[in-house]
Point group: C2
Chain length 521, copies 2
């Protein structure tokens, strides 16, 4: 009884332990719909309640302004900036000046020794993260790091383009479908030059390797091209089903309805495959918008700049790619979409490896956090109902690291947000430390469930072309997404490497509670 009570207001560490252990208990709970749904609703509401909706702050003011809600060009802010007149960059704690960024990066971001992650994450996961989040992380650097040019949510613009102009260029205007081309018997996106879709490629990339995708950067990495291709195929597959269901529908209606189905599938897969893996919970996460009907919940979302910073997971990208026996380095693979086409879609997703941090990105990110006068790491912990760390050692679980941090920052309450996320000790059986998860989850859950399609007047079969379309949404999985769109026998598709054994890595001593695993993130 006490245990059950603690689920409803447990501290985050207890909860994490409860959820990642006791597999037998969760097996039972997952199979008792009433209990499962009650807990799932609780996940939705507790996480979402942490996010101000409508948003209260943006990066140009330390107090509530009307711009926070009406000026959509701003990223939202969960915590307002540190006032300029404060004695130190973090308010009152710490030194007058923040440490040199090069030094910070050299000390805390460069990998010294490779360590695998403890939950067997595959590269499929990292690329999924990158592909999915680029639909809403769209910093408008011309205006400054506090501005963005997206729609503040899951709008599938990474598949269909940033606006109607791009969307129209990607559409075939026949049976609702997107344009495609056949290369070596496989279906790929059309070339940029054949569609006039604005794409960004380095000069050396040949025209017949310049594919047209929903996001201008998505031709740069084979993993992004792969996801773009899979979703394009899925869209066209759904169009065929819609056309069969509704022979009287015109191209436009098939297109628009398939787009809604693709959005539904996206959220379903994000929650039930992607977040499920990320959480490493035995509790089965489900996408069920009905659970929020009748709850106090705002169907609107804004992307916070803190969420963007937190989501800089570049270190998750592997340094080596083994495709059908050929090993490519990260450098080999960047800007070379033809590698994917050469090997075919089926042979791409078959390995696990972790690589170095993309250093220039990290440096810029830390600089942006300073320009935007982010409050300290501990302030963010407090904002998200976490106890502030009392010392660098408590944060890192590593004496040497703690000493280095102490030297540079002087005070645990003066530690920068992104640096804190990076050096924090990992939770046992988790990809990240507690702060990243406890701050990231509210943003994620809110952003996913606040989508218009989850609202009571949208969430019904008619929105998705009837029962058949609604069923596609409600049964979507990562595995089906690939298997339905790859010719021949379906490859192993999972966010987890196929030889993963729970606790395996931990037992080998790579990543226990003590080691911290900080140097990889």
């Amino acid at each position: 009884m006490k245990k059950i009570k603690r689920w409803f207001k447990p501290d985050p560490e207890t909860l994490h332990n409860l959820l990642t252990k006791n597999r037998w208990l969760w097996k039972i709970i997952n199979n008792v719909p009433f209990l499962h749904d009650m807990l799932m609703k609780r996940v939705y509401t507790v996480r979402s309640d942490n996010i101000d909706s409508p948003p209260l702050y943006e990066s140009d003011h330390e107090y509530v302004t009307l711009d926070a809600t009406y000026n959509m060009s701003y990223y939202a802010r969960v915590l307002p900036p540190v006032p300029r007149e404060c004695p130190t960059p973090m308010g009152t704690a710490g030194k007058k000046e923040l440490p040199d960024i090069d030094l910070v990066v050299k000390k805390f971001f460069l990998r010294k020794e490779f360590k695998p992650d403890p939950i067997g994450t595959s590269v499929l996961f990292s690329y999924f993260a990158q592909h999915f989040t680029h639909q809403f992380f769209k910093t408008d650097l011309k205006r400054g790091p506090g501005f963005q040019w997206g729609n503040h949510g899951v709008d599938v613009s990474h598949i269909y383009g940033k606006d109607k102009s791009v969307e129209n260029k990607l559409r075939s205007f026949k049976d609702g479908k997107l344009k495609t081309q056949i290369i070596d018997g496989e279906e790929w996106p059309p070339y940029a030059q054949d569609t006039n879709v604005p794409m960004i490629y380095p000069g050396h990339v040949q025209n017949d390797n310049r594919f047209a995708l929903g996001h201008e950067f998505f031709g740069l990495l084979p993993g992004l091209l792969a996801y773009g291709t899979i979703w394009m195929r899925e869209h066209n597959r759904v169009c065929d089903i819609m056309k069969k269901e509704h022979p009287d529908w015109d191209d436009e209606r098939i297109f628009q309805t398939s787009k809604l189905i693709i959005l539904g599938e996206t959220i379903k897969i994000v929650i039930e495959d992607y977040v499920q893996h990320l959480s490493n919970y035995h509790f089965q996460l489900t996408f069920n918008p009905k659970l929020l009907f009748g709850e106090l919940f705002q169907y609107q979302n804004r992307i916070s700049v803190e969420f963007n910073h937190l989501y800089h997971w570049h270190p998750l990208m592997p340094s080596e790619f083994n495709i059908s026996g050929t090993v490519y380095s990260q450098k080999d693979i960047m800007f070379h979409p033809e590698i994917l086409v050469k090997h075919g879609m089926r042979n791409f997703f078959t390995f696990n490896n972790h690589g170095p941090t993309t250093i220039p990105v990290v440096k810029q990110l830390i600089q942006h956090g300073r320009t935007l006068r982010f409050q300290s790491f501990n302030q963010y912990r407090k904002r998200f109902d976490l106890k502030p760390f009392k010392s660098f050692e408590e944060l890192t679980g590593d004496k040497k690291l703690a000493k280095d941090l102490e030297e540079l920052y002087g005070d645990i309450d003066a530690l920068e947000f992104y640096v804190g996320l990076t050096v924090e000790k990992r939770r046992p059986l988790a990809l990240f430390g507690s702060t990243l998860i406890e701050i990231g989850s509210p943003f994620s859950v809110k952003g996913l469930m606040a989508n218009a399609i989850c609202s009571p007047r949208y969430w019904k079969p008619s929105t998705f072309g009837g029962d058949v379309g609604f069923d596609i949404v409600n049964t979507a999985t990562l595995k089906k997404l690939f298997c339905a769109n790859i010719k021949g026998e379906c490859p192993y598709v999972s966010f987890r490497v196929h030889d993963y054994v729970e606790g395996d890595v931990k037992e080998k001593g790579y990543c226990g509670d003590e080691s911290g695993c900080h140097d990889e993130l």
Copy 2:
């Protein structure tokens, strides 16, 4: 008991009668906070529930699309367009072609005989409507009548300008204040040429009559200039108070906070003065965001194109203006802001008169309704829980008018939306017919209460610069707005003419239940 029960699900006509009569009963209810608040909460929720939020439709599709929610350039649609392939413009009812617009306007919009409105509405009301609604009715005709370029709500852009560039040009950047100039000892907005604020004036208007205001059209009519001036003075008055309260605040913070206070005052006055007058209820309408805390309510808003059409109240503008004894015609006064300056603010708001329809506007509006394939008047009645009219006679209460409509439209179910609103018989003791009110109120209530400042995390003293600022919001009235910002003895300020006696007009036979009063709207 039965009567009380009927309040909770009465038909709209019964409710209107109940609310506009029984003054003694309402006097009691208004003074019992528990009862009053319960009913007021009911008004908020019942009205708002009629509006889809997030919106489901826009004007380019007859079904749910993602664009309805993510493409903010669209006006929302409460009912989707009539499908192109339907046998008649209204679906299945009526003739193959809609009647000639010139004929419709000639028959139903041109005034034959002047009749005063039955609730003694003053020109202050009409100008308030025009001034207030132009902050969110911003049709983007370059794209088409289904598009708009505003922020979909009460964003006080009509006072501070459509974007930051205009706002900055209107600001003095001293003590939070807007720029002003003194003419004849009175404070007026600055000139357009002195501020570079883009304004639209006809060629004949001299530079020293071209004032700079938040909306580019607001120099065209003295009534709009008057409201623009009053709000500008109010903003600066509030800045003085904020500066006194917070001597340490800089210009920016005083400005931003005063803007939030002005927004709060606006909503307060709209509900408690403007809608109160429009409703003619004896029930006292109040602005109390707290009543919605804990209720299912979405703090987001979209402007529907139907709301825009419904709000075309040009006929409310008088044909003659009597200012301090001088009579000006409508033509005299258009494009002549200097008239206001000449007579001073105090002498402007002192009369009541009603004039002719602005014919070109009506013609364009009807054309837009057709281009946008609006569903029929009766379809909109059904959408808003009103019984569809069975005949033109039931709609108009006028045999001759009914015959003319029958001839042109053939079927009551084929009547156009705006024409229906116009020819509908007035309710007793009301400015408009039932449809306009029953459709307009949900849009209004939703738009006002869904403002971010009404949400639980905004609605607190700190948002408005502390108790003093919050108190300004919570005690704002139309009368105070003018009296605090006009030098000398305060003139008569009301949305009602000062010699109005309830039932007076009705008793004189101008506007009873039978006459319909349709020809004026």
